[in-house]
Amino acid sequence: MTVCNSRLFSLALFAALTMVSSAYASAFQAELVDAAGEPLGDAVITLRGLADSPRAPLPVQMDQRNQQFQPHVLAVRTGTSVSFPNSDDIRHQVYSFSPAKRFELRLYQGTPSEPVLFDKPGLVVLGCNIHDWMLGYIYVTDDPWFAVSDDDGRAVIADLPAGRYVVTLWHPGNPDLLPQVAGEIQFDARVSSQRFVLGSPGPAEQPAPPAPSAFGEAFRKAAEDAAK
C-alpha cells in the first residue's frame, strides 16, 4: 500500500524528530483540550517562527474510505498538491466550493489523474456530491510547522528548532470555522510538551440524512390540546 494515512505519517515524523532532538532540534508535543479539559481530536495547531526557512511542501493524500474522508481533517502547507484516492468500491464526486479552493472531481473510482493543488491558505471544506454526509476539511496554512491532533488530543511537531513561535489553533468546531491565535511560545529542549485550550469549539457540524416529517405529530398534539 503506497498511501499512508496521516496518523502513520505523524508517527513516522514523530519518531524522526525524536531521534534528532538531542542534536539541534526536538519534537514539540501539544496537548489540545477543549474548554472542559477533554482531549480534542482533529484539531490543527500551526506554529510560525520568527526566522523560518521555507520548506518544500510534500504531496499528500485525502483518501475516501467507508464513504468518509480520511483523514477527516488534513492540514497542508500552501502550495501542497493533494491527491484524492478513492478506496471505496463505489464512486465519489469530491467537490469544494470553499473560496480557498474551488474544485470538483467528477465521479471517479480509484485515484483521479490529477492531484489538486491548494495554493491559497484557508480552509477548504470537502464534500461528495452524491454522499451528503461526507465531510472533510483541508486546512491550508502558510505556517511551516503544523500538526493535527489524534483522538487523545495530542499533536506532535517533530524537529522543531528551539525558538519563539506564534501559535494558531483550528478545529471544525471553531466559531465560523475561523482559526484561533493562541499566543506565542518559547520552545527549547526543556519544553517538550504544552497544553492548549481551544476557546469554545462546538461539536463539529455533521450533515444528517433527512428525517421523516414530525409536523403531523406536532399538529395532532396541538389539535388535541385545543379539543381539551
Binding site: 466550493f97 457540524e205 399538529f219 385545543a226
Partner: protein, 779 residues
C-alpha cells in the same frame, strides 16, 4: 249548553294533556337533537382538525421535499456558493413553479435575505423568520407559519450544504382563501385563519360568509380571544380553535367552524314528523273527546229529561237507558226514584183526601165529589150526620172510646151505602153521606132507614152506648148549586134537627140567610160603637101615683149602615153569645151619663135606668169605672138605675153581690129586671142591695082582672112593697092594665100605652109636653 260545555271541557283537558306531552316530547327531542348536533359537530370539528393538520403536514412534506431537492442540487449549490444571484433566482422560480409554491427565497446563514422570487419580505417578517430559524432544529422538517405583508405563509426550510450549510432555502405557499376553500372541500367545515401582530391589523382568511366573518373579526378585536361560537343572523357555528403558530409579537390561529344550522337541518324531517304526529294526535283526541262527551252527554240529557218529567209529575214513562256503566246504574236509580216518588205521592194524595181515623174520604174529597156531581148536573142529596152526645161519649169512654165509636159508626154507615153513594167524615163527629140521583124527599127515606140502624147501641168495652144522631138534608139542585152552600145548608139543617124530636130536618129556605145575617151582625157589632152606629132611645116611665114622668129606660138601638135599624132582641143575644156585650154596656153607661149631663145643662132632670149584662156583674172594676164617669160628667148618682137580671146574679152570686154593693156605694140605684122569669128565690132577692123590681112584660101585657098573671103581678107587688122595694111594670100597652096596676099600687109603669121609646131629642120634646094620664079614659 250542558253538552257543549261538557264536551269542551273534556276536549280541553285532553288537548291540554296532549299539548303537555307533545311539548315535553318536543323539548326532549330538541334537547337530544341539540346534544347530538353538537356532539356530531364537535366530532366533525375534531376530524376536520386532524384532516386540516394532515393536509398541512402533507403540504409541508411536499414543500420540504421540493425544497430539499433544490437544496441538494449540485448546480444550485454551486450557484449559491458562488453567489450567482440571477442563477439562484431563476432556480428558485423554476422550482417554485414546479410545486406551485408562492414563496421561494434564500436566506444566508445569518438570516439575511439573499434572493427572493418577487415576494416582498419586510424586515419584521425576516426577523421573525430568522429567530425561528435560530431555534435548534428538531427532528423532521420545520414548518413556519408567518404573516408576511398582508398574507400568511406556510414555509419550510432546507439547508443548502456544500457540504457545510451555506444558506437556507425557504419555500412556502400563502394560506389564502383558495387553501381555505380546499380545506372546506375536504372537511365540509368552514375555516378561518387569522394572523395577529402587535400594532398591525390582523390578517384574516376565512370561508365564512361575510356577515359571519365580520362578526368574528369584531369579536376577536373586542375580546382578544377566539370564540367557541360564531352566531350571525342566519347561521350558528360551533368553532374549534387551533393555535398554529406564535412568536414574539404575533400569533396565528385557526378556527374550524361547523354550521349548526346544517347539522340541524338533518333533523328537520324529524321535527316535521313530530309536528305531523302532534297534529294527528290532536285531531284524533279532539274527535275522541267529542265522541266521548257525546256518549256521556246524551244519556245525561235523557236523564235530565226524565228528571224534568218527574218534576212535572209524570211518573209513567221510565228512563229507557240500557247501559252497563255508571250512567246505566243511575238510570235504574232514577226509575226506582220515580216509582218511589209516585208511591209516596199517591200516599200523600190519599192522606190529603182521606181521614186518618176512619179511612173515609175527608171534607176536601167530599166537596170535590159534590163539585163533580154539580158540574155533571146530576141531582144529589147531602145527608149531614152529627152525633149530639159525642162530647159526653168522649167524656165517659175516653178519647179512644170516642175514636172507636166513630170507627164503628163509619162502618155502619158504609154498610148502608148504595153503589154510587159515598161517605165522608167531615170533622169530629160529623159525617156526610152523598146520595146520588136523589132529591130531598127520597133522601128523607134513606135518612130514616139510617136512623133506624143507628138506634142500636154500640158496645164499647162493657158499656152500651146509644148515639144521638141528628141528620140534616140538603139536595142539589133544590137547595143550592155550589158545594159550599149545599154543605153549609145541610149542616144548618142538621143543627136545626137537634131541636126536633125526630132528629131529622130538611133544609128550609131562608135559614141560611138568617144565619148569614147573624154572622154579619156579630162581625159588625164589634165596631158599631166606635163607628157611631149605636144610639139610645128613651122610653118614659110613668109614676103611677102622681101621673108624672120623671124616669126613662135607656134602650140601645143599632143603626146598621146596610141592614138599617137592628132590633135589640136580635143583636143583644148575639152580643151576649159572642162576648161583646160588655163593649155595649160600657158604651151605654157613658152615653147615658153624657146625655144626663147635657139635659142637666138645660135644666131637664130625668132618672134613667139602663141594663147591664151578666159579664158586667162579674167585673169588679165596674163600680170604680162608674164612679169615675159620674165625676167626669158631674151626674148625680141618684139619676142612674142599673137593671140587672136574676140569672146574671145567679151565675156567680158572691162576685155579683160584691159588684152590686160597690155600685150601691156609688149611690146608684139597682133594679131587678124581668122579674118572674127566673128561678130566684125571695131569700136571694132579699140579700141583694136592690131598690126596685121590674115585673116582666109577659105578665103585664094582657093583664086583666081574673087571669093567673094578675095574681102573680098583684102578689109580686104586694110582696115587694112588703120588702120595701118599688115595683115597675113593663109592657103596659092597654089602659085597663094601667088601671089595674094603679089599683094594685104599682109604683111605675112603662110601655107603649105611655110612649114608645124615643130618640133623645124627641124624648126631651115629649117630656116638655103636658102628659095626659090615660087613667082618665079608663074611668
Amino acid at each position: 249548553m250542558l253538552r257543549s260545555s261538557f264536551q269542551a271541557r273534556i276536549a280541553g283537558v285532553l288537548i291540554l294533556l296532549l299539548l303537555v306531552v307533545i311539548g315535553a316530547l318536543y323539548v326532549a327531542v330538541k334537547a337530544a337533537t341539540n346534544v347530538a348536533v353538537r356532539a356530531q359537530a364537535q366530532e366533525q370539528l375534531n376530524v376536520g382538525s386532524r384532516v386540516f393538520g394532515q393536509l398541512l403536514a402533507q403540504r409541508s412534506d411536499q414543500l420540504q421535499q421540493a425544497a430539499q431537492v433544490l437544496a441538494a442540487d449540485f448546480g444550485f449549490k454551486d450557484a449559491v456558493a458562488s453567489g450567482d444571484v440571477p442563477t439562484i433566482r431563476s432556480a428558485l422560480v423554476n422550482q417554485g413553479a414546479r410545486i406551485n409554491a408562492s414563496a421561494v427565497f434564500l436566506l444566508g446563514l445569518d438570516g439575511s435575505l439573499q434572493v427572493s422570487t418577487g415576494l416582498d419580505i419586510d424586515a419584521e417578517a425576516l426577523a421573525r423568520l430568522g429567530r425561528q430559524l435560530q431555534q435548534p432544529r428538531r427532528d423532521g422538517p420545520r414548518l413556519f407559519l408567518l404573516p408576511i405583508g398582508e398574507q400568511i405563509y406556510l414555509l419550510v426550510d432546507a439547508t443548502v450544504s456544500a457540504p457545510l450549510p451555506i444558506a437556507r432555502l425557504l419555500m412556502g405557499f400563502a394560506v389564502d382563501r383558495a387553501f381555505a376553500l380546499q380545506i372546506r372541500e375536504l372537511t365540509h367545515l368552514e375555516l378561518s385563519v387569522v394572523a395577529r401582530r402587535d400594532g398591525t391589523a390582523p390578517t384574516w382568511v376565512s370561508t365564512l360568509p361575510n356577515s359571519a366573518q365580520r362578526l368574528l373579526e369584531t369579536h376577536v378585536e373586542a375580546v382578544g380571544a377566539m370564540p367557541q361560537h360564531v352566531d350571525d343572523d342566519i347561521e350558528h357555528y360551533l368553532s374549534q380553535h387551533l393555535q398554529l403558530a406564535s412568536g414574539p409579537g404575533y400569533r396565528i390561529e385557526a378556527l374550524l367552524h361547523r354550521s349548526l344550522g346544517e347539522a340541524e337541518a338533518a333533523f328537520a324531517p324529524l321535527d316535521r314528523r313530530i309536528l305531523l304526529i302532534s297534529l294527528g294526535a290532536m285531531l284524533a283526541s279532539l274527535v275522541g273527546a267529542l265522541v266521548l262527551a257525546r256518549s256521556v252527554s246524551r244519556p245525561v240529557r235523557e236523564l235530565a229529561d226524565a228528571a224534568q218529567r218527574i218534576g212535572r209529575g209524570d211518573y209513567q214513562q221510565p228512563v229507557t237507558l240500557v247501559r252497563s256503566d255508571e250512567l246505566g246504574v243511575l238510570a235504574l236509580a232514577v226509575n226506582d226514584m220515580q216509582r218511589g216518588i209516585a208511591e209516596r205521592e199517591r200516599q200523600l194524595a190519599h192522606n190529603a183526601l182521606h181521614d186518618a181515623l176512619t179511612g173515609l174520604p175527608n171534607r176536601t174529597l167530599a166537596l170535590e165529589r159534590l163539585g163533580s156531581a154539580i158540574t155533571a148536573g146530576r141531582p144529589i142529596a147531602l145527608l149531614y150526620l152529627g152525633v149530639g152526645n159525642f162530647a159526653a161519649i168522649n167524656e165517659s169512654c175516653g178519647q179512644s172510646g170516642g175514636d172507636f165509636v166513630l170507627q164503628q159508626l163509619s162502618r155502619r154507615l158504609q154498610a148502608t151505602l148504595r153503589p154510587g153513594d159515598s161517605l165522608a167524615r167531615l170533622l169530629g163527629d160529623e159525617f156526610l153521606v152523598l146520595l146520588e140521583h136523589c132529591d130531598g124527599s127520597s133522601a128523607v127515606a134513606s135518612a130514616d132507614r139510617l136512623q133506624q140502624l143507628l138506634l142500636k147501641p154500640l158496645r164499647i168495652g162493657t158499656q152500651d152506648v146509644a148515639l144521638d144522631c141528628r141528620m140534616g138534608i140538603a139536595a142539589y139542585p133544590a137547595d143550592g148549586d155550589t158545594p159550599d152552600d149545599l154543605l153549609r145548608r145541610a149542616r144548618i139543617a142538621m143543627q136545626d134537627a137537634a131541636q126536633h124530636s125526630g132528629r131529622l130536618q130538611i133544609y128550609q129556605q131562608g135559614r141560611d140567610a138568617a144565619q148569614q145575617r147573624q154572622i154579619r151582625l156579630i162581625r159588625d157589632l164589634r165596631h158599631a160603637a166606635e163607628q157611631g152606629q149605636l144610639l139610645l132611645h128613651y122610653q118614659p116611665k110613668l109614676d103611677i101615683r102622681d101621673g108624672r114622668v120623671r124616669q126613662a129606660e135607656a134602650l140601645l138601638r143599632w143603626q146598621h149602615p146596610h141592614l138599617g135599624m137592628v132590633s135589640p132582641g136580635e143583636f143583644i143575644p148575639l152580643a151576649e153569645r159572642t162576648g161583646s156585650i160588655q163593649l155595649l154596656t160600657t158604651w151605654v153607661i157613658e152615653e147615658v151619663m153624657r146625655q144626663l149631663h147635657e139635659w142637666d145643662g138645660r135644666g131637664v132632670w130625668v132618672q134613667v135606668s139602663l141594663n147591664i149584662s151578666t159579664e158586667d156583674l162579674l167585673d169588679t172594676a165596674l163600680p170604680a169605672r162608674v164612679d169615675a164617669l159620674l165625676a167626669r160628667y158631674q151626674v148625680a148618682p141618684e139619676q142612674l138605675i142599673f137593671e140587672i137580671t136574676e140569672s146574671g146574679v145567679m151565675l156567680n152570686p158572691e162576685r155579683a153581690l160584691e159588684v152590686l154593693h160597690g155600685l150601691r156605694r156609688c149611690g146608684i140605684g139597682l133594679s131587678v129586671d124581668d122579674f118572674g122569669t127566673g128561678y130566684s128565690s125571695l131569700a136571694q132577692l132579699k140579700r141583694m142591695p136592690v131598690q126596685e123590681l121590674k115585673i116582666d112584660q109577659s105578665f103585664v101585657r094582657e093583664l086583666d082582672d081574673n087571669s093567673e098573671d094578675s095574681v102573680i103581678v098583684r102578689s109580686t107587688i104586694e110582696m115587694s112593697h112588703s120588702l120595701g122595694l118599688k115595683v115597675v111594670a113593663e109592657g103596659v100597652e092597654l089602659a085597663p092594665s094601667l088601671s089595674l096596676l094603679q089599683r094594685w099600687h104599682c109604683d111605675t109603669a112603662q110601655g107603649y100605652l105611655i110612649s114608645r121609646p124615643l130618640a133623645a131629642e124627641a124624648f126631651e120634646v115629649w117630656l116638655a109636653q103636658p102628659y095626659r094620664f090615660p087613667q082618665a079614659e079608663v074611668h
